[in-house]
Symmetry: C2
Subunit: 360 residues, 2 copies
């Protein structure tokens, strides 16, 4: 147990196995009426986000999801179905299910279609917040395929460039490319400098934000994450990030008949309205483009070139995207996932509310 510099006792962080955490999340969902199989799938996908280091999209979100389930915001007995399809596309009606279930289905369909068609683009409407994009972009990797994920975020935090009215979300983009001997290259980015999840995590840890993450409505930098409702997120590269967020929004929203712009329900503030969240998953089969081994070895080469590039003074190591989360995933699978004390308190209260056994 750690102690503060003043010597007073600090609440301790604790480490759990993946199985233990999945079990706890599963029981939480079952307690609010979700079928066991769906609960376990959702739990596994949430913990996958923690494994990859996307703490703000893992078990951290459980209280919010459970509250939405209890208040009727999710359909706990959904009929997720293909509404429309071609050889290389599909549109799913998520039937307001837990977002994780709908996006996983979209990824499975994209993988199956890309096997023959070489590429497949699957969109969905009436989904919900689905956590970390990398979780879904990585799904095609197990089939030797590239995965791409885009989403309309579940709350608007970004104004159009030059504006102060938040009409776009962080609209994340995740891309996963298989290598041969190297770990896959996996990019998972918000089109804003910071994601709202990261800001929430900073607020929970009592830390401030660097300049450039948010701007206040007064046009000045906003540094206190607890005051995040007094401003908006900044896009990467100014107008470029705005353009990218808009395009991902059109792909995941307008193209699928899902919410975008003023239609978006702020799922941090409203636990009941149907969000009509839209996402898309694209799978690309390297076998349609060449010998997958040759392509994978070229990815290896590129990764190694980046990593061995001459470094700027003071830089110890150059990484490729996804290298850090890959290492973190391996370590946490072996050593377990450590949850900070404030989150443990929240989860303990949740267990009490749901009358289930606490995490132990």
């Amino acid at each position: 147990m750690s102690t503060s510099s003043a010597g007073t006792a600090q609440p301790a962080a604790r480490t759990f196995t993946v199985d233990r955490l999945i079990e706890f999340i599963t029981r939480s969902y079952v307690a609010v009426g979700m079928p066991e199989a769906d609960a376990r799938t959702t739990a596994t996908l949430m913990i996958e986000a923690d494994l990859l280091g996307s703490d703000a999209h893992g078990i951290f979100r459980l209280p919010q999801y459970i509250r939405r389930a209890r208040e009727g915001g999710f359909n706990l007995r959904p009929d997720i179905r293909i509404e429309r399809e071609t050889a290389a596309t599909a549109v799913l009606d998520g039937d307001n299910a837990m977002g994780h279930l709908v996006v996983q289905r979209a990824a499975q369909i994209a993988i199956a279609k890309a096997r023959e068609a070489g590429v497949a683009w699957v969109g969905l409407h009436h989904g919900n917040h689905a956590g970390a994009g990398a979780v879904y972009a990585r799904m095609p990797l197990a089939h030797g395929m590239i995965g791409i994920y885009g989403a309309v975020g579940s709350a608007n935090h970004l104004p159009p460039w030059g504006g102060m009215e938040m009409l776009l979300s962080t609209n994340p983009l995740a891309i996963a490319v298989p290598a041969c001997e190297e770990p896959p290259v996996v990019l998972d980015m918000a089109t804003t400098v910071a994601s709202y999840g990261k800001i929430k995590a900073r607020a929970q840890r009592g830390e401030s934000m660097p300049e450039g993450w948010m701007m206040g409505y007064d046009g000045k930098p906003l540094l206190d994450p607890k005051r995040s409702n007094e401003g908006f997120l900044m896009p990467i590269g100014g107008h470029k990030g705005y353009g990218l967020a808009l395009m991902i929004g059109l792909f995941a929203g307008s193209l699928n008949g899902a919410a975008i712009g003023r239609d978006v329900v702020d799922f941090n503030a409203d636990y009941r309205s149907v969000t009509n969240t839209g996402q898309c998953v694209i799978a690309v089969n390297p076998a349609a483009f060449g010998d997958p081994q040759v392509i994978g070895r070229d990815v290896d080469r590129v990764v190694r070139e980046m990593r061995s590039a001459k470094r700027l003074p003071g830089v110890d190591r150059i990484q490729v995207p996804g290298e850090g989360s890959h290492r973190r995933r391996e370590t946490q699978l072996r050593e377990g996932i450590t949850l900070p004390a404030p989150l443990l308190d929240i989860l303990a209260r949740l267990a009490g509310d749901l009358a289930i056994a606490p995490l132990a």
Copy 2:
């Protein structure tokens, strides 16, 4: 004719019709041995870049392309062919043709395949620099489709994040989405804060660069575009832009068996080596996702929401991506394209070299 503030005569900019410029470029290529039809196609695509406001990718590039053609860097009698295909993908061998010809062919194939398959992803190798990405991303618009274009740029200007060795190019991404009543939404961005084309144009105009465009090898901001060989471009959003550039590079390069990383030939310095440039064009058919009219009207709505958002103090107007180039295109189609005096001088010398009639 404009005069300087000191009253001395300045060389004059001059305005030409689109047809006149296409004719001049066509004659230039024919003079170095390109078949007339290919010359005219290339000329039309180059002037399309000028029309859209991408001056750095239009007629401005002609002397460089002509030099490469004369020194044997292009195959002027290429056999551009489909090497591999599925219902929704194709890989083209560009046979070291003028890049514009190869990417246009890729876009045509993507459009044809997406009509049935709903989406099509066409990659190519052994292409060359093809100018402005928006030109190709916009091609599916005429068929009611979304277009996406990605490329490995034709010279490395971007190090991996934390590095100082330039192993990536600006790797541009262009996306065009049709609306219904509104002009299409068209994003055309380098993954760097500035593109090298823009920097070249600044150098030609004798202007300096803002801080944040380039970093010198000394780790300090580089402001003089004429010293651009003393540093490297900065990615948008730091490590995010690096990740995006790498991913676009893997899609356009590794997946197609095209150059990326240390393989990339600097086409600004080497006019003879085969560049093996890679690009990809994706077409997405909204009809596979829903009623194209309904989707187009939702894009209209989103565009109008962005444009009418509450503005920050001092901002006159909020734009959506592509709005400026759309207006510029309409105006220039009507009023002609104005070329600055230094470029006119260069083109006059080129006409002399090629023994063709000068622009008049």
